[in-house]
């Protein structure tokens, strides 16, 4: 017998009420909803970008179009980014991590719209950036908007962000497993993160949406490659070195160029992307394959269509084009370009090896395939993700062992020559300190937040040393924070003040003493801690700096002082401390 409408409504209400009461069920439902919705948005993003590009560059179009379109595209997106969507600039990965770690999981709807609009325009116009990073921010943004508007707690919203990231990457790259891996490895910085289940669910849902609309077609079509001879592993090791070095060159060039752009006057920021657009346009006029993300050319190279001179040249030009486009503030990511650079480095290495040892080596296509993963591991620094991703992109298992060898070497070289990961370095350039896996460190007795004291005694930077010494009289700690109008300036020790009096006079200000002590060094490089840092790291930094007191600053801005950490408190947390000095409560006004 069919239940009456009233009974059905009652059952629905009961189910919804039950859902409201159960966090687990709610999480699963939202993961599914986010997965489907992000899948739909990402598919739309891919299709819009593709169709726009096809219309901007019709078959048989004039060569001048390749200069004009990216220039105009970057000009228009430059204006939009500067005027309306400042948070939609660049890749989206650092912004997502910022939202997750610092900004309570908040990514606004406006940012999502801006990212979609600006990225579609710039990528379709031929800017040498990728769609995957932006998709991650869009996915996280959709999750954030849904979470916040559903009235979830901040922690619940933050837990939903990786779910959105995973769904977005699964659809953007057609790699559902690698999407989950990347979310854990890069976004969360923890392969054992508790969001694993929900990330898998959303990734699968999003991937199914992608399949429904775009079919079951891998991003790259690769012939079946195999290891020709065991000695070939040595060549793959060489590829690891080449890929690692190319990664470091790319990252350093990008960061160096971006640092220069950031020093330009703020009022010119809307014009910066044009530099990238014009550069890629001029390069594209002579070498069209430099433009855009270049997957079709990568596909050709993977299938063995690799002339040594061409792949070397395109690899170098792509490094220049992508670094310029990104550094100048265009919207787009570096995932895709990393694969392009890697494929060219691989094809070049493989091409040379095949000429020298034709009997024991595969053709350049096999090396291009491994090169993609190698550069990804070197640039993005997610070695697990890169192995899984290459497998998913190509659906070819036989090349995994050479890929692992090559990846490990590239990762090692990249880590040695460029200590900070590209996303952390980009965030740092924006004044944001993102947590690295190292910062989370071994679990130990807890984190900095646990022993952090409020900075009750702060010294204004304009105070003279003589006045400051009077103010800290009787304080049990040995260093104090100095603040100015723009926020925290640094820590000053009693000995620093005593030395200043001995050298100069008591009339010198604390600001002058700090400037002298820092020797022109950027404030961001001053020894400090963040609340989520481990106590292990706090001890390490105290030991290396020789300071018994360290400032605790916000990840969003190192000028935002949150408190101080004293050595005795850290030792006490480890259960080896003596007495804890009483905090000094006086404040100089």
């Amino acid at each position: 017998m069919t239940p009456s409408p009233a009974v059905s409504t009652s059952r629905l209400h009961a189910w919804l009420e039950e859902l409201r009461q159960s966090e687990n069920q709610l999480t699963l439902l939202l993961s599914l909803v986010v997965g489907v919705l992000v899948g739909l948005v990402t598919v739309g993003f891919i299709l819009v970008t593709g169709r726009l590009a096809a219309h901007m560059y019709p078959a048989g179009g004039s060569g001048w179009r390749r200069i004009l379109v990216p220039t105009l595209g970057s000009l228009s997106t430059g204006f939009l980014l500067a005027r309306y969507f400042p948070f939609a600039r660049g890749s989206g990965i650092p912004q997502t991590k910022f939202a997750l770690v610092v900004n309570d999981g908040i990514i606004t709807f406006r940012t999502i719209v801006g990212k979609l609009l600006c990225c579609s325009t710039s990528l379709a116009s031929g800017i040498a950036l990728g769609r995957e990073g932006p998709s991650v921010q869009i996915g996280a943004g959709v999750a954030s908007v849904i979470g916040r508007n559903s009235g979830l707690r901040t922690e619940q919203v933050k837990a939903l962000l990786p779910v959105g990231c995973s769904a977005a990457l699964a659809a953007a790259f057609n790699t559902p497993i690698a999407a989950v891996m990347f979310t854990l490895e890069e976004i969360m910085g923890d392969l054992h993160a508790t969001v694993l289940g929900t990330a898998v669910l959303s990734s699968a849902a999003s991937w199914m949406v992608l399949h429904y609309f775009l079919g079951d077609d891998p991003l790259f079509h690769v012939p079946a490659y195999r290891l020709v001879h065991p000695a070939e592993l040595a060549v793959y090791a060489v590829l690891g070195i080449v890929g690692g070095l190319a990664s470091v060159v790319f990252v350093k060039l990008l960061l160096g160029m971006r640092a220069r752009f950031l020093r330009l006057p703020a009022k010119t920021v809307w014009l910066h992307p044009v530099v990238g657009g014009l550069t890629v346009g001029l390069l594209g006029y002579f070498f069209p394959d430099v433009m855009g993300v270049g997957y079709s050319f990568v596909d050709r190279v993977l299938n063995g269509d690799a002339v040594l001179k061409v792949v070397v040249l395109l690899g170098i030009l792509k490094i220049v084009a992508t670094a310029t486009c990104y550094a100048s503030g265009n919207a787009g990511g570096i995932f895709g370009p990393s694969l392009f650079i890697g494929a060219m480095a691989g094809a070049a290495t493989g091409g040379v090896a095949h000429k020298l040892f034709p009997g024991i080596t595969a053709g350049p296509g096999a090396y291009a395939l491994v090169g993609m993963g190698t550069a990804f591991a070197g640039i993005i620094r997610t070695p697990f993700t890169s192995v899984i991703m290459i497998f998913e992109l190509t659906r070819d298992y036989t090349i995994i062992v050479p890929l692992m060898i090559s990846n490990t070497i590239a990762y090692f070289i990249s880590q040695k020559l460029q200590r900070e990961t590209i996303y952390d370095a980009l965030a740092r350039q924006d004044g944001v300190h993102l947590p690295s896996a190292h910062a989370h460190g071994p679990s130990g007795p807890g984190n900095v937040r646990k022993v952090m004291r409020p900075a009750t005694l702060t010294l204004p930077a304009r105070t003279t040393v003589q006045e400051a010494l009077g103010a800290v009289e009787g304080s049990a700690v040995e260093a104090w924070p100095v603040t100015a109008e723009q926020g925290f300036r640094g820590m000053i020790r009693r000995t620093d003040m005593a030395n200043a009096i001995a050298r100069e006079s008591g009339g010198i200000t604390l600001a002058a003493v700090l400037d002298e002590l820092n020797g022109g060094m950027e404030l961001e490089n001053f020894t400090h801690l963040h609340p989520d840092h481990s106590l292990h790291l706090a001890l390490e930094r105290m030991g290396s700096s020789g300071l018994g007191v360290l400032p605790v600053v916000s990840r969003a801005s190192v000028r935002q002082l949150m408190g101080i950490v004293v050595l005795e408190d850290v030792l006490k947390a480890y259960g080896v401390a003596g007495q804890t000095p009483a905090p000094h409560t006086a404040e100089v006004s």
């Binding site: 709610l26 919705l37 739309g44 299709l47 169709r51 508007n149 609309f213 077609d217």
Partner: protein, 377 residues
């Protein structure tokens, strides 16, 4: 107590409103994505067809590398179309990029190992690489493979492929394998003049002129004014040892086309053979013996240029000078011819350089004699 198990509502009523908005947004996105996906499918299919046509045009112009680029573009826009990779494989083959062509076609064959056209293209690649065993393997897979009904029917395609394989075997002088391909072709091949003439010539290369003769006869009956058929018949008869019939055919060919220098040369050859041949029907014992002696003389003169055969040449000269009674003529004609045949074979082995094109009549007569004296050959 776990946080989720609290009786405090986790959600505000805005949750349901948000779910509703998300559902509406989802439906709108499904609609938008469907339209976009359909647009993309349509536009990429158009673009793929345009690229493919451009590739075909470039192929006809002989610009194979450019054609390959166009076909690659077509493939990128229509992955499921099997015609485009095949066209790419053929363009790469013509461009001499054999490894790439092989790689492209391997993918196609992985999808369907019995597809006729990719197997044929693969066979051509290996033939160009001079890897003939592989080439034969793929030719056979193409012959027994699947062919689409258009533009030609499957049987026509199979015959075409078998002829191509036969040409390859003929070029390699693989007579036994060639004959194995020609026998089924004789049953299946169309009966038009060109095909039958091609078949007959291939039979001759395969060392089976007896099979070529009736084909040429049929063709000559069908079109008595075809000089090429008469010339072909003459060659087949000559090869088959029917020198009189060959002479008749060459005369007929020259009557139809007097300026045919090849036919004239072959006619001369056949006449020389007829004048030399001691086994020709209708000769009396005297004449048969005289011709045998003459042949031995010719062979001994040539063998005299080959020092290792000095003893055998001396023996031949003794045989030539020996007096023979009329009753022994027939028997001696045979032994003389046998001696000439053996000496010729020794010369072929020891001093092949001494034998030239002008020795063709002598060689033909001796070959015929060898067959008749030793039927097992």
């Amino acid at each position: 107590m776990a946080p989720g198990s609290s009786n405090r509502p986790l959600l505000r009523p805005s949750f349901f409103r948000t779910l509703l908005i998300v559902a509406l947004a989802g439906m709108a996105l499904v609609l938008i994505d469907s339209v976009l996906a359909a647009t993309e499918r349509r536009e990429t299919a158009i673009e793929a067809t345009r690229s493919w046509r451009e590739g075909q045009s470039l192929m006809q112009q002989g610009r194979y590398n450019d054609a390959a680029d166009a076909f690659r573009s077509a493939i990128a826009n229509a992955r499921n179309n099997k015609e485009y990779p095949l066209a790419l494989g053929q363009a790469l083959l013509n461009a001499g990029q054999l490894d790439e062509a092989e790689s492209t076609l391997t993918d196609l064959l992985n999808a369907n190992s019995m597809a006729g056209a990719p197997n044929l293209a693969m066979a051509r690649i290996f033939a160009k690489k001079a890897e003939f065993e592989e080439a034969e393997f793929y030719y056979h897979r193409a012959i027994y493979g699947q062919w689409p009904p258009a533009p030609n029917d499957a049987a026509a395609n199979r015959i075409h492929v078998r002829f191509e394989l036969a040409d390859l075997l003929a070029a390699r002088n693989s007579k036994a394998e060639l004959l194995a391909e020609l026998l089924p072709l004789q049953q299946q091949a169309p009966t038009d003049t060109d095909t039958q003439a091609r078949l007959a010539r291939l039979f001759m290369i395969a060392g089976a002129p007896a099979r070529a003769v009736p084909i040429f006869h049929d063709l000559a009956r069908a079109d008595p004014r075809d000089s090429a058929v008469e010339a072909g018949l003459g060659e087949a008869e000559l090869e088959n040892g029917n020198f009189t019939a060959a002479q008749t055919a060459f005369i007929a060919a020259l009557r139809l086309r007097p300026d045919d220098q090849n036919a004239r040369k072959s006619l001369d050859t056949s006449e020389q053979i007829l004048n030399l041949d001691p086994l020709r029907r209708g000769l009396d014992g005297q004449e048969r013996y005289r011709r045998s002696q003459h042949i031995l003389q010719l062979v001994a003169d040539k063998a005299a240029q080959c020092p290792p055969l000095g003893d055998q040449v001396s023996a031949a000269r003794v045989a030539i000078s020996r007096h023979v009674s009329p009753s022994e003529l027939s028997e001696n004609a045979e032994s003389t011819l046998e001696l000439a045949t053996k000496l010729w074979q020794a010369e072929q082995t020891q001093c092949p350089a001494t034998i030239t094109a002008s020795d063709e009549p002598l060689q033909t007569v001796l070959a015929k004699a060898a067959r008749q004296l030793d039927p097992s050959r």
